[in-house]
């Protein structure tokens, strides 16, 4: 009678035995589900943390950069590799479109991962262990991980973050002992290369500028889009770029520019002013950089022509 007014006395009709039985079972089940979640916090080993710090994208990028500088032991496909100490604070940043850094972790040791984004919302998804967390810009999510199995893990992005989303993939290596590093081609990654110490007022040689430029390339993640091997999956390759005539679009109109120091500076500070033809869909984000950093990067790009 669902299309007619209910029969008289419907409000006082007794609930049948079977329906009553089902409702009681259902209610018990529902309460059990709640109790289960609470108990898992007491006895379970997998609970999302409640600790979040408010930060800014700029601040978090600086923290990550400082962390990487301190703990970096090498580079893997343009992404810096770090080996933090167990129980220490680790910074992991998502940005369009890479995770940085690559982590070397020891099995059954805890690491306090601070996770945030430099631009849009990302999804941190560790595979194949299949653990997934949301990553926001300007929120620093503190998750204390303890890997339970050694092996190579990938960090994929599972929250849509723009056209390059499907290529956003990072790496975590979990080792039992130092010898395991060999399996991953990391046998030389036991300690960090000595960085060039910045000294006030000293003129650097061209070779030193190239080394510092390469460090910036790695730290800032230029390599996520700009390869140095001649391939151009997302952005134009840097190999043979310097001194080249490049077809660009200025306000949608085609033009040709010479890639020189001035053009490189402009492309870093105002990337959308001149857009290289063929890369209209993957426009570079703005990269706030200091003058000397731009100088080193330019030196590095020049060096790739040799």
């Amino acid at each position: 009678m669902s299309l007619l007014s209910p029969a008289e006395g419907w409000y006082y009709k007794k609930v049948s035995k079977d329906e009553k039985m089902w409702m009681i079972i259902a209610l018990i089940l529902c309460i059990m589900l709640f109790v289960w979640m609470v108990m898992w916090h007491v006895y379970g080993k997998q609970n999302p943390s409640s600790t979040t710090y408010k930060t800014s994208t700029v601040e978090f990028a600086e923290l990550t950069e400082a962390f990487i500088k301190k703990n970096m032991v090498g580079v893997d496909n343009g992404i810096p590799v770090v080996r933090p100490n167990p129980n220490s604070d680790v910074f992991v940043m998502g940005e369009m479109w890479r995770w940085s850094p690559v982590l070397i972790m020891e099995v059954n040791q805890s690491y306090k991962l601070h996770i945030s984004s430099k631009d849009v919302v990302h999804g941190l998804s560790i595979q194949p262990v299949n653990m997934n967390f949301q990553v926001y810009p300007s929120y620093d999510y503190l998750l204390e991980f303890k890997p339970t199995e050694p092996g190579e893990y990938k960090v994929i992005c599972n929250e849509f973050c723009g056209i390059g989303h499907a290529g956003m993939i990072g790496k975590i290596v979990v080792i039992e002992k130092d010898e395991d590093l060999k399996k991953y081609g990391y046998e030389n990654f036991k300690k960090a290369p000595v960085p060039i110490i910045a000294e006030e007022g000293r003129e650097y040689s061209e070779a030193e500028k190239v080394i510092m430029g390469e460090q910036i390339y790695t730290l800032k993640g230029c390599g996520a889009c700009h390869k140095t091997d001649g391939t151009s999956p997302i952005g134009p390759t840097w190999k043979g770029l310097y001194g080249k005539e490049e077809k660009v679009k200025v306000d949608g109109k085609p033009a040709t520019v010479l890639v020189d120091e001035e053009y490189i500076r402009e492309s870093i500070l105002e990337p959308s002013k001149k857009i290289t033809v063929g890369f209209e869909k993957t426009i570079m984000p703005k990269m706030p950089m200091k003058d000397d950093e731009i100088e080193y990067i330019t030196a590095f790009i020049k060096s790739l022509n040799k």
Binding site: E19, P48, Q134
Partner: protein
């Protein structure tokens, strides 16, 4: 258009007031059908079907993109069409149909008139305008932001404006629904209590108001932000409020869908809830305990504490889940009880085997109940718990889950009830009844394959909304468990079957409505309209033992999936 209308057209003066209305008395059901309401129901239903066609056209292209051996679309068009598919399927198709349903339930079923037909057309116009604007902006590539459009991803301002216009139109439709209820109440057209169907729709409408308020709260600032008038929309706040719209609106669908299940019970076997008080209470639980449904989407997010998450997903006892579990018994038992009273009393399941399976509305409903409960419901509860969410969040298991709820559940229900709307509201005979009998089965099989394989893929870590599972262009690559190939194939197959089924349905609907023979009376009715089942003899013991057995089967399946998921969770790294 008057030649479409058959039956007697009358102009009645209502006794209390001088508010007559042009209507016909339905020669099949005896209900008074306000002609202005009928036109609005038709218009909204037509817009719904158009939206569904847009949605499934995108869907089949998406399926063949994710199926890596074909990998059809470019990255750009893949993400564009994911946005397009989501908006047309989840918003336009469903809400247009629901507005048609709300008008039907508040005028025809209550024998009353439409309170303000002109406003009804304004509502319809706003919704159509919203649909056109948003779809246009998406297709020209100015809104590649997904349905969720999480800030700081930014779309063209007109994209947000389109959605706002659509929502304002829908809200106006909901207000008109309440206006119709008021008139019916004042003019005493239906007796003391609302029929259960309309009561269920009323709960849907109440939830719709809450939902659309959340929508306004988030889309208006985002629109201003896209215009540059607001500097910043906090991404965590955005997600919290957006899901106040996104998830609560699914509760509108559930309430509307369950209402239709009760209606089909009445139409196909003359059944009714075995205890209306229980069914109505369950509907009220939906309103009371769905308010922070967005919590289900923040379980692995920073910004809110575990205590907040655990509390707001459950309110200590999951009463919205309880509501669905009550309906899980109440709906099938309404069929069982009626069938038993018709004499199909042998054993536990004669009521089911002797049910009117050749009635496509009936088979749609039963299949929708099964899919909603066993696929959508079980996974929904398990994925919506704080810790288990870690192993499925943002994986393709999530769309797999809601293919179970909103596609097998809501969409199949809506498609099924349309087989009644064609003769009763569009006044046409159905062309292709033979196809119509198969269509729900085809749809169910296709979608069950699709959603189950998506759930398995998700459990294997495959992300949703992801163009290329070979990670081309990335610094590293990853190979999923080799089992994924099998499930991708299954998903592609399921998607294709479901697509064919929807096309069959759309062809039946369009051909019937445009070229079907006109209805001339009850003899033209191809679907049964059952008389009320005879009253029950007094009986002791169980009223619906078959249903009880089925619900226990459901319980066992749920518990099996529950422990499986927690076991998988326990095998992951430790995290706190």
């Amino acid at each position: 258009m008057s030649n479409i209308i058959h039956g007697d057209i009358e102009y009645t003066e209502s006794p209390q007031e001088q508010t007559g209305f042009l209507h016909r008395v339905c020669d099949i059901t005896g209900f008074k059908v306000d002609l202005s309401s009928e036109k609005l129901i038709r218009a909204n239903a037509v817009a719904a079907v158009v939206s569904l066609l847009l949605a499934v056209t995108a869907a089949i292209l998406l399926v063949f993109t994710r199926y890596q051996p074909i990998h059809l679309l470019s990255a750009e068009w893949y993400y564009r069409l994911v946005t397009f598919h989501g908006l047309n399927a989840l918003i336009f198709w469903i809400i247009f149909f629901e507005i048609a349903g709300l008008y039907f339930g508040s005028t025809v079923i209550l024998n009353t008139r439409f309170c303000a037909p002109r406003l009804g057309w304004i509502s319809f116009g706003l919704m159509v305008l919203g649909l056109i604007i948003s779809n246009y902006i998406i297709l020209i590539g100015q809104a590649d932001v997904m349905l969720t459009s999480y800030t700081p991803l930014k779309a063209h301002p007109l994209y947000y404006l389109g959605i706002i216009l659509f929502a304002v139109g829908a809200l106006l439709g909901v207000v008109l629904f309440f206006g119709n209820l008021m008139i019916a109440r004042r003019e005493n057209t239906y007796g003391d209590s609302l029929p259960l169907f309309t009561y269920g729709l009323m709960t849907a409408a109440i939830i719709a108001v809450i939902t659309l308020a959340s929508g306004a709260l988030i889309y208006i600032p985002t629109f201003l932000w896209s215009l540059g008038l607001i500097d910043n929309i906090d991404p965590a706040m955005y997600k919290l409020i957006w899901w106040g719209l996104g998830h609560s609106s699914q509760q509108i669908n559930v309430a509307a869908m369950v209402s239709i299940w009760y209606m089909v019970s009445f139409l196909s076997v003359g059944g009714t809830s075995i205890n209306e008080k229980v069914s109505r209470t369950a509907f009220v639980l939906y309103i009371l305990f769905i308010c922070l449904a967005s919590a289900h989407h923040l379980l692995t997010d920073p910004g809110v504490s575990s205590a907040w998450k655990v509390w707001n997903t459950s309110y200590a006892m999951y009463l919205a889940v309880l509501a669905s579990m009550i309906h899980a018994f109440a709906v099938p038992s309404s069929y069982e009880s009626a069938q038993r009273r018709w004499g199909y009393n042998k054993g536990l399941f004669e009521w089911l085997s002797k049910a009117p399976w050749s009635n496509p509305a009936f088979s749609s409903t039963i299949l929708a109940i099964i899919g909603f409960g066993f696929i959508g419901g079980t996974t929904g509860v398990i994925f919506g718990m704080e810790q288990t969410n870690i192993i499925v969040h943002n994986t393709i298991a999530i769309p797999g889950h809601f293919k179970g709820t909103v596609v097998i559940g809501t969409t199949l229900t809506f498609m099924g009830i349309t087989y009644y709307l064609i003769p009763l509201i569009f006044r046409r005979k159905i062309i292709g009844m033979g196809w119509a009998r198969w269509q729900p089965w085809l749809f169910f099989i296709g979608l069950a394959l699709l959603s189950i394989s998506m759930i398995v893929l998700g459990q294997l870590g495959v992300p949703r909304r992801h163009w290329d599972s070979t990670f081309s262009g990335g610094p590293f690559t990853y190979n999923f468990n080799p089992a994924v190939d099998f499930f991708w194939t299954l998903m592609m197959l399921g998607g294709s079957i479901a697509f064919i089924s929807v096309i069959i349905w759309i062809v039946i609907v369009v051909v019937s409505v445009l070229w079907g023979p006109k209805m001339t009376g009850p003899k033209d009715m191809q679907l049964t309209i059952s008389p009320l089942a005879p009253p029950a003899k007094s009986h002791k013991g169980f009223e619906a033992p078959g249903t009880l057995v089925l619900t226990f089967v459901f319980l066992l399946v749920f518990l099996a999936l529950f422990f499986l998921n927690w076991k998988w969770l326990a095998a992951t790294w430790y995290v706190k």
